[in-house]
Symmetry: C2
Subunit: 281 residues, 2 copies
């Protein structure tokens, strides 16, 4: 397994493999890998000849008061997991190479980014679309894999890739959960014992919501209120948002129909957790 | 010569040529080709095995009161010129394919775009960087050719390509002029006889400016005032801007040093003409 900070080394590796007619899968991450990331690597391995993992905590997607400096990092352990998953190349770029002093260019998606996480993190998605464009241009993969946990991120990136005519297929993979249902996240390590126990309420509230929709409820307001009251039964939970949006536009809808995303963000202490369901009605 | 509106046809043509180990040069244009465009095609032919020309009047780079609908078009003549220049493929996409109804994504370069043409055309460069990103993703050339007449455009695009890690080399080619010195432009056809005569003042004023710098003048203010007074000697000339900027930042400088761009935009009636010089002092 190659581990490199060098853009040129990634390019020459990929070009060589493509010349041999091999397909290239790409999993961009911020590291501190868990079973969610591992599932993306497994999917890439299954669908491509070559799998490339990038590990980069991208500063432009963090707001000024967010957890950039404290975001958990463990490169050694990450490389061990990558090796176990059969990754061919790990790209570990540095800030000075990706964002030199005279850096000026941003990619952004209008509309889809002003709801959900975009509402409380106004520059977040501009940072995501910019870094993913850069990584796509460096790695030039055939396929790229993203977790459904960051559902809005996937829909925004897919819109971007379509709009900018990127010749890359973006794939969304299912959320991987702990045994008690909490969605796996690098940020779960921040939770203390009591917060960790109460955090299972996210998944439970979404299960209840899905059941209500299955039973025929079509009012977004009813579903949202149900989720809110379930989450608020936990004294440490502090709701950032509970929203139901159309998956195409990421805009709130009154009536549940077609393909919708039910997405929630809840803070426990300083730790912000997200979870979601995608439903076709 | 292939002429196609199809993104897929461009992709499969380029992929095939690249598999044969051939290099691909690209000249993106808005059509109504003149000797300036032809010089870019010649340069691409010289440096690449395959040359691709795109003809597309890009709506997102025109402001609401600009000349999008009246911009001169002549596809038949353009294809004849392309054929004469030995172009291998002409890409002629349509609005509905490049900007479908749910289109949402833009690429922009901060800082470099708020001076010169960016001042009087605030959304212009966002449109240019977005369409060029799209065309680059479709054509995926090794080299791309731009005219120095649109100097700010070249510096902005070069910044974008560097920042977004595009694996494409951007080249700037010299301004091609009429015998009397007027820079060739598709918009020259708008000029009436008297305007056409007076329009030669742009090049003359720049020649005077270059001579003054050669003689030792280093004050931007002095040079700018000289250009302004020369242009204002023509009763039909209406100055939009005369600016001297650093080529790296596109920001105005007081003292002429290092590499500078002297750029001017002047209206004759409704026709806006631009011209420039790049100087290394």
């Amino acid at each position: 397994m190659i581990v490199t900070k060098s853009i040129e080394e990634v390019r020459s590796f990929v070009n060589e493999k493509k010349k041999e007619g091999l397909s290239v899968g790409f999993v961009p991450t911020m590291g501190y890998l868990h079973e969610g990331h591992a599932s993306l690597l497994k999917e890439s391995k299954k669908e491509n000849d070559i799998t490339i993992l990038s590990i980069y905590v991208n500063p432009t997607q963090f707001g000024p008061n967010e957890d950039l400096s404290s975001y958990p990092r463990d490169m050694e352990r990450d490389c061990k997991i990558a090796e176990e998953e059969g990754v061919d190349l790990v790209f570990t770029p540095t800030d000075d190479v990706l964002y030199p002093g005279n850096y000026k260019t941003y990619v952004y998606v209008e509309g889809l980014t002003n709801t959900l996480c975009g509402r409380s993190r106004p520059t977040h998605f501009r940072g995501v679309t910019t870094i993913v464009t850069k990584l796509f241009n460096i790695v030039a993969p055939h396929n790229a894999y993203f977790g459904q946990k960051d559902a809005q991120q996937y829909f925004v990136l897919n819109r971007m890739a379509t709009d900018l005519n990127m010749d890359i297929c973006l794939k969304s993979c299912p959320i991987i959960r702990e045994e008690d249902g909490l969605a796996k996240s690098s940020r779960n390590v921040y939770l203390n014992e009591k917060e960790r126990q109460q955090a299972t309420i996210l998944n439970k509230s979404l299960n209840e919501a899905v059941n209500k929709v299955k039973e025929g409820e079509r009012s977004s307001l009813e579903i949202v209120e149900g989720i809110r009251s379930t989450i608020n039964s936990m004294d440490l939970a502090n709701i950032d948002y509970v929203e139901i949006v159309d998956t195409e536009t990421m805009q709130q809808i009154d009536e549940i129909k077609n393909k919708v995303l039910i997405a929630i963000a809840v803070k426990f202490g300083n730790t912000r957790l997200i979870d979601n369901r995608i439903l076709e009605v």
